[in-house]
Amino acid sequence: MELYTVESDILNFLIKNILAENVSITASFTLRDIGIDSFSIVEIILFIERKYGLIIPDEYLIPDHFQTVNHIAKLVIQLSV
């Protein structure tokens, strides 16, 4: 699985389901700065868990680990190995 593919999957999910229409985003944006709150982060987590059939370990559920799309994508790659 390519890091790039995972990033664009998450970005597409964000654009489609969470972000307001005129907000642009890249994988390196700090999510909190563009108004993504912890409720939305939980949505992203559930999205990737279900899409890639993996489970993020409970002890990994700390907001700092979900600062950017890039952070999250890396985590997905790491967990799928």
């Binding site: 912890s38 949505e43 559930l46 409970d58 559920l61 700390i62 907001p63």
Partner: protein, 851 residues
Amino acid sequence: MTAATKSKLPAKVYLTGADNFYLMLAHKSKVEKAGHNVLRIVFQFEDETGVKIISEKINQSPIIFWFLNITLVNRTFLSKPHWLYKDKGVKPVIIEHNHDIDKQIPEEILNREISLNDRLIEFDQIKYPSGKVGFVISWHHIIMDGRGSGFLIRHLMRDGFSDSNSILELFPVKENKNGLIHTIKNMYEVRDFVQDSSQAPIETVAEKNTANSSVFKLRTLQFTNEETGRIDANAKNNGARFGSNIFQLAACAHGIHELNKSRGKEGTIWLPIPYDGRKRGGNGPIVTNSISFLFYRLEIKDLKTIKTTVSSINKQMSEQLRMDMPNKYNLLLKMMRHIPIWLYSFLTTYSSRGVVASFLYSSAGEDMRDMNALLLNKATDILVIPPYIYPPGLTFSFLRHNNCLKMNIAYCESSLTNQELQVLENGIKEKLLQENKIETISSDVIVVGAGSAGVAAALAAAETNSVILIEKNDYPGGKATAAEVGTVCGLYYFSKSNESKYVVGGFARKFAEDLARASSTYPASNNLGLHYLPYNIDAYKKLCVTLLHKANIKTFYQTNVKATEIVGSEIKSILVIKNGTEYKINCKAIVDCSGEAKISKLSGLPIIEEKNYQTASQVFTVEGIKEMSETNLIMLLMKELRAAIIDNVADKHFEKVYVLNSSFKNGVASFKLNVPIPVTYAPGNIDELRAEAVKRINFFIHHFQKHVPAFVNAKLKSIAPELGIRVGVRPVGKYILTETDVLNCTKFDNAIANGAWPIEKWGENVKVEMHYFKENDYYQIPAGCLQSKQISNLFFGGRNISATENAIASARVMGTCLQTGFAAGKMAAGYSQNSIESDIIKSIQQMQIFV
């Protein structure tokens, strides 16, 4: 009545158990020519219209038709006694009588027996020369008890009675069949019950060998409205719980005691306790007797004063409930259905085997208000005439009509002489109407409610004046302790900065600092810019207790305010009740920190009400959670709940479950969940909310134990004693704080508090609604929000200051309550010392708002 309705009537109905007792009495009365088994309800009307309404209903009623067309099939060797219904076409007959004296019931009706082989329900209409009319419904006690009669009238008068489904509600539910082992187990339980409850025989009013008369006598004591009020007050003052019933019963026992003394037979008395086996709150069944009797024993020492009697009954009541006596008694009755009538008779009356009371007592149809409403308020009087049942040959019954208590004494002629009746009557009346002495105390300032605001108010006023603090719980802190709120909000500026900067000064700030020290906590903030102080619940309680004690404030715990006395434009005194004892407290000024405008409501002053209030929350604590950081726990919680909602395992309201800030330590965390039922303050609403909260907590725990490894060993540790009700009614003050004031950060010349929490509204929506004002700013609350518009010595603090729904959604937080409470206490103290208002306000400003 249609043929279809008739066909829905049950063909076979078994007796429930208690009615076997009446069957036995019917049998005895035949043999011994004593006893009386007819229950009557009497309506008095100004003219014929009321009678027309009721007789029309009777003629159309399927249930009356059923009563007239049933036959008792007595027990055979194998079958239980039951009623067999067959449409024989017997219809109700209303017999007409004439009588000279208004309201009196002709002897021919009173002394008429009802045979089990004939019509079981009879109707009489009595015409008086004045044009007034009486109407009597009489029935054999075996088909229906006193409370059943109330249900019957309600069913008769309500439309929809002809609905065939509702008919079935009036009949006993089918009994479950139990296995042999179960039956044997029951037999042992029943044996134990009989051994526990049976004692040596006691004196009954009419003794076995003296009664040879079936002449029915009735004496009615009518109490006025004022006397009824005094009886209710006496009941409370003497410690009667659950209304006045137990007090009335205790007074009857004293009457009997006087009678026994006059007969030289002073001794132990058995009190019958009507135990209603019907489902609580349910309206049925009416057919057959559901009320049975348990007994309490009163020895001479218990009859020293009415208070000792009430206390003994209370104690025995708790004891019986603890021992599960009502259920065991039910078991006994169920078994009684399966034994032959002669054995039943032997078991219930043979000396020392069963128990017979000194007298019987019925509170059937205590309140006739709604019954009369069904008669379009046409009835000028309603009376329930109980049978006297021999032995004991004497029955008391109480009922209320138009807020006046009425007491009936039904007895057989041979059991009481006229003089003895007088002794009995006087004995009862003396106890019921005894002069009510209320202890009066005085204080400069009364503070109602010992929550954050109330404690602040009491401490503020106590700096210069005497103070009495009234609290409904048995500890201070209000929602901070009882609902375990867990964080103090409103102390610091709204700011994205990490530093928590106080927006309040004076008492509120000092209190917060002491609380933080005692709890070992520090101010915390979130990324939205909200700053708050987490605290420990016990530390909060302890701090309040210590401060109140140091200031020498007399605190009445477990005390409720019952009434206020207003003279001119001032409240002169309030009436409070603590453990059943009333106190009158005189005051110069009063501060209402009840959170629900209690004083204004009791005084009939205008209040700001809403149809629904903000939703309530419930805090609960879970132990045995795996160690992790609190942020980790929060995210884990959010993820698991969100997944459960998406998978339709949990409803959307579970999104509103939170970890209380900084509560997670050593595997123990407190959570808060929102209860998605509207808060209306209607009767029963709080119980309903609480039940829903508990249901949700149980679901939460089970779900997490099952699905989240970190919760495998988790257990519910506690549930906060009270719901977190955020907002209640508010009084109308000289000024009403508005949403605009809050959002524009309005400042006032006569400000007494600074508000810094955004408008936080919890409603039906899944997410909380927040409305913020400018960062690093605050709004102010003017003194007018704390002063009653009508009453010059009434002040408000805390959640019930004068504010609109949206404004109070900000000003309700503890940091603000501490300030408004303190200011209200100072203003009340100043008022009681005749100080100049502007000077008081200035000094409050110096103390707490110029930070």
